[in-house]
Symmetry: C2
Subunit: 224 residues, 2 copies
């Protein structure tokens, strides 16, 4: 589980080899980390995976990265800023998870696979998902990069929906997104298990539900 980034991977082989005769030979790790920003983000991912979104603290992250608790402030303005960076990565990861579907020729099948990828990605990184769509979202103006990353992810979904049905594309996209988002949230909140839905297969659920939502509304209904 521990990311390799947690131990400095910078090309900086053996500083103790430097015979500058530093007074204290006990110095094992260098003063400067070399790649702390990335290390902190990786550490945050680890902490999130271990203790969940609620149990994450700046000091935890710093500890996991092996630096003092104030060091992160030279790379992130605040805890929220760090979380925004985590969320940004999460949105990028989501985009990556959906990306392979562009190879699917059938537009409807592509939408279904996007929905599946969305739910799969959310369930794979529950705490991250919570950070991505937590309180930070309402303050996304303060974090332009995160905002851009989330916009990119949605753009992929919207493009797929418009390819499927140019006219109703936006509505289909929003429907699919809402459904996948809601299902993912309900599942990782544990709301679903324990309910009288035991006969529904958890594996195929995302696709089956998405099939309903994506179905193009009959034109007869539209011009009522």
């Amino acid at each position: 589980m521990k990311s390799p980034l947690l131990t400095s991977t910078q090309p900086k082989a053996q500083p103790p080899a430097k015979a500058k005769s530093t007074r204290k030979p006990k110095v094992v790790k260098p003063y400067h980390h070399g790649n702390l920003r990335e290390t902190l983000l990786a550490a945050a991912d680890d902490v999130l995976a271990t203790k969940g979104a609620a149990g994450l603290t700046l000091r935890d992250v710093a500890r996991a990265a092996g630096v003092s608790h104030a060091a992160p402030y030279h790379h992130f303005a605040s805890l929220d800023d760090l979380l925004a960076a985590v969320a940004t990565r999460g949105f990028d990861r989501l985009s990556e998870a959906m990306a392979p579907t562009v190879a699917v020729a059938d537009t409807k099948e592509r939408l279904l696979q996007i929905s599946e990828a969305y739910v799969r990605c959310a369930l794979a990184n529950p705490a991250q998902f919570r950070v991505m769509f937590g309180t930070l979202c309402a303050r996304k103006n303060e974090f332009p990069e995160m905002r851009a990353a989330s916009a990119r992810a949605f753009a992929m979904l919207l493009a797929a929906a418009c390819a499927h049905d140019a006219k109703q594309g936006p509505e289909i996209a929003l429907t699919g997104w809402s459904l996948s988002h809601g299902l993912a949230n309900l599942m990782l909140d544990g709301v679903i298990d324990g309910l009288p839905l035991a006969d529904l297969d958890t594996e195929t659920m995302p696709r089956r539900l998405a099939e309903r939502a994506i179905a193009v509304t009959p034109k007869a209904r539209l011009r009522k």
Copy 2:
């Protein structure tokens, strides 16, 4: 916005009228609050509405209720316990919001109205909604009352779905719930505004999306 419960409403008219000659006549509020538990919950609602879910602290709630910061511990085991009680109320409120739809004869129309009520209720109390479906949900075994309240709310939805289509009831219920839940979350996270969906009417959106999800899958597709 201030709830009337914030000032003790207990039948305890004017304790200063008691001519017991207490040494200090400055005593305006009695030592015992009389109805602190309810007052705290109301205060928590106020704080949530004011500062949001992230800005809520036990001490804030206690301050708003006019008691010391340790007083709440005599009514709630912990902050999470208080939040669970808030969530319980939220689920009950949700049930109340959906309840009037039982009068609707048309089963599909009833489902649509339930979806509308769900989204409306969520948007009316954003912070509360976040508490209801936050980290607490994953620990719902620790809070039986909250669990029961959420189960009651879902039972209403499930019943309506089964009335509409006995066979596919559960799946329709889950679809509608996921969709409404996802849409509500995306809306109150502010994810939607700012996206290229401006042409979609926010008011009618819940109903229109729900129409898609609730549509019964054609039998031709089912027996493929």
